[in-house]
Amino acid sequence: MREMTYAEAIREALSEEMRRDESVFFIGEDIGVYGGAFGVSKGMLAEFGPKRVRDTPISETAIVGCGVGAAMAGLRPVVEIMFSDFVAVAMDQIVNQAAKARFQFGGQFSVPLVIRTPSGSGTGAAEQHSQSLEAWFVHTPGIKVAVPSTPADAKGLLISAIRDPNPVLFLEQKLLYRTKGEVPEGDYTVPFGQAAVRREGRDVAVITYGRMVARCLEAAQAAAAEGIEAEVLDLRTLAPMDREAIIRTVKKCGRVLIVHEACRTGGVGGEIAATIADSEAFFWLDAPVRRLCGEDTPIPYNRNLEDSIVPRVPGITEEILRLARREASWPRA
């Protein structure tokens, strides 16, 4: 199969959908000639013209709102928010408008809107350009959330998102844009709400998503060298969340490590842990449910500091091994 980057896969998905469906259009800041801050839409203006690929003023509320209104009026907008941190500027349009419109109008409208936005730390862009904010939206009924971890998923999930009649927050992983992977040609979808077992194992279930998937796989590899077989589950979408897959892997392994980049407290890891702790899987647990997450801090600029606050391969490996060896020491608080 062809190899392409995560960014290229996104561009391909969006372009294919725009070719297929005249009602799909794309707006955002500097997505035209500039091709987007991360180059995702390079060349799209040339292909689709300024009617369908349109630069906006710096007005995130209006950008998302324009998407909501166009969606309610029957189009299929894809809007880009340049960094996911800026969803805060458009928060009302996302949570009070897009996510509520269908319900509050008694089902009269649907809002087939996709908000694409790069998420995560690791680029030295500091506090206001590095957050992982998925938890806010997982807690918002009426909007779906996707966090693709591979180029193939990026394409398949984006196609699903565009065809979905609901608003979707599509959190692209900044640091994955240039990673390569095999991507099927043409029209295929990756369904929402279906996690993927990225590595089979039996000793420890590692539940993760987004850019942490690769780190968890690496850690699982390292643990395997020590005779411990970790299973790595990639959730792929967080809303809906594949709770069955979570329960399945926990029942299989009996020990579980949850890993995400977003800061720990109030993060999606809590939802995963609660899902486990309030399910039949609870009875299969051989050990407490561990979370290894970003620290509860804004993201600093300095590279060493920045690196230090997000889970890394050695730390993940260590947690896997400690869980497997029943060595974990459980903090009081």
Binding site: C66, Q93, N96, G106, Q108
Partner: protein, 318 residues
């Protein structure tokens, strides 16, 4: 008056319906039949009715929380409005939204919004869609004087101006944002000057003159389809409190009384009679019809079923 007699009749009837609808709704409140809140537009009927009556079915509107006149103006069904007000399954939002969120896709209403200013960017999106499809239609976006201080207002007008979208921004200036007088929330007197920030036409007119409002909208629509957005400010007054629980300590009785003399329904009636367009008895008949329509709506709403609790989680997602 430069407006066909049939239109004058329609304008009068819709205003009378709006008035009667709200008076009745207020009574239902007092009778404890309503859980929640409501915002009445008594005194402002000429704005929504005048504007929306000038629109075609394919034109869209984004309403405000104070939008019964806008809804009736655009042709919404009073029965389903009343049913929504009472939270019934037959209401426009199946009882999920209440009157702060009535919408009617079938007549082109994108719904009322509980977030002040929240509907303005959405209206821009709707106008984008009309433009994108090459439709010969516009979107009308209603909002209040208070809403014109939200960031959403600014971003939306700017975006519409850059893209020359077919949208009429209608600021219903009733001089108050809840308890806060215009002079305390803006440092300008004429809101229409804000159009200059976007290089689009802006104008103010007497929002209690339904014929002027109607005519201005017709003309604006023509220009907008050619040249892009405009900002129309309709100066009017809210006679009732802001919402059901407003002690109204922020304004004088005299001020309210003075505006009551400019009651848009009364002014219109007098003018129609004076101009010889209608007999007073014709208008009485329209008032009676409005009363019947609303009474029927109440009956419809009251006899409608409650939403089923088992269905509470429907429509979160499509």
């Amino acid at each position: 008056m430069g407006v066909p007699r049939e239109t004058l009749r329609e304008l009068y009837l819709k205003m009378a319906q709006t008035r009667r609808f709200e008076e009745t709704a207020a009574r239902l409140f007092t009778e404890g039949k309503v859980h929640g809140t409501a915002h009445f537009c008594i005194g402002e009927e000429a704005t929504g009715v005048g504007v929306c009556s000038a629109l075609a079915p394919e034109d869209l509107i984004a309403q405000t929380h104070r939008g019964h006149n806008q809804a009736i103006g655009k042709g919404m069904d009073i029965r389903r409005m009343m049913a929504e007000f009472l939270g019934k399954e037959t209401g426009y939002c199946r009882g999920r939204g209440g009157c702060m969120h009535i919408a009617d896709a079938s007549v082109g209403s994108l719904g009322a919004n509980g977030i002040v200013g929240g509907g303005i960017p959405i209206a821009v999106g709707a106008a984008f869609a009309q433009n994108y499809r090459g439709q010969d239609a516009i979107t009308v976006c209603f909002f209040g004087d208070g809403a014109a201080n939200e960031g959403a207002f600014h971003e939306a007008l700017n975006l519409a101006s850059v893209w020359k979208l077919p949208i009429l921004f209608v600021c219903v200036n009733n001089y108050y944002a809840m308890s806060t007088h215009l002079s305390l929330h803006m440092n300008i007197k004429d809101i229409s000057v804000r159009a200059k920030s976007y290089g689009i036409p802006g104008f103010s007119l007497d929002g209690n003159d339904v014929v002027a409002v109607y005519t201005a909208t017709l003309e604006a629509k023509k220009r907008i389809l050619e040249n892009g957005p405009e900002l129309m400010v309709l100066n009017t007054y809210r006679i009732m409190g802001h919402s059901k629980s407003d002690p109204q300590t922020y304004r004088t009785r005299d001020e309210v009384e003075a505006w009551k003399k400019k009651d848009p329904l009364l002014l219109f009636r007098n003018r129609l009679v004076e101009a010889g367009e209608f007999l007073a008895s014709d208008l009485d008949a329209l008032d009676a019809q409005a009363a019947r329509d609303v009474a029927e709506a109440v009956e419809y709403a009251e006899s409608s079923p409650e939403p089923k609790v088992e269905e509470a989680l429907q429509d979160v997602l499509a």
